[in-house]
Symmetry: C2
Subunit: 141 residues, 2 copies
Amino acid sequence: MSCASAYAPQLRARGFRMTAQRLAILHVLHHEGSHLSPAEVYKKARLELPSLTEPTVYRSLEFLAQNGLVHPSPSRGGHLRYEIARHDHHHIVCRRCGAEIEVEHTLLENLYRLLETSSGYRSINSHVTFFGVCPECQKEE
Amino acid sequence: MSCASAYAPQLRARGFRMTAQRLAILHVLHHEGSHLSPAEVYKKARLELPSLTEPTVYRSLEFLAQNGLVHPSPSRGGHLRYEIARHDHHHIVCRRCGAEIEVEHTLLENLYRLLETSSGYRSINSHVTFFGVCPECQKEE
DNA sequence: TACATTGTTGCAAAAACTTGCAATAAGGAG
DNA sequence: CTCCTTATTGCAAGTTTTTGCAACAATGTA
């Protein structure tokens, strides 16, 4: 669990608090490694902290996302799933089967610069999920 | 309304049908010009077709998206909104105020090619929504 | 250690979204 | 024009996600 409490200073610096609930959620995501839906986070985090409630999970995930500790990314169905914030990367999801791979952020860096200069928007650093057809599913077409 | 019935052949060619419900939904999105949430689509489309139900709106929007007649794009909160399929473009949404601008697809073409060659995924043609901070909100920081 | 401040949580109820299934109706065949 | 097939809808009930508010608890101060 201590792995996650390292985030506490980040929150305190902005006037927020590290709580047992947030810690449990971070811990779950940290050890999961990949995306989880809010329901899955709830199920797992409650094993560590039985008093945890579902609304709190939703609110915490949104809060943690806003503070950059977790990253939201849309699934095929349009619902958000969350993963612990790691190195910058993006995703390509297969439209057919849902298979998912990561894309290094370096591939997008030029684009992000281009977007910032051409649009006037700053801090464009969002995770992006692209949808395509994976090699496996291409064979079946 | 006839504007939307032009889509019928596209659906029939794949064994699907054009119905009054889909027509009404397409009509609403066509004349709206920008994104609408499912609830907004429902409210407006029901004026044209009072028998329309909410589940049908959700199912139709998903169906129309899969068939390329409308485009889904995530809002700030992560919820999907839909717009009529037009020329290819993407969006940048302000994280603070929600202000939204369009990005020409040409800016992303190189990246898409790069992604396809480096990942093996094909037909990466999804709409993408980036999040950043708009010029107005930058002033307040 | 006790107090005050204020960010957070839990609860309960509402709203948004999804699903299964029987009834309906679009489009093709005769 | 009528019938047939089967995609699609409406209904009703479920699940998921959000919201308001009172109770709680984490930090700073004395």
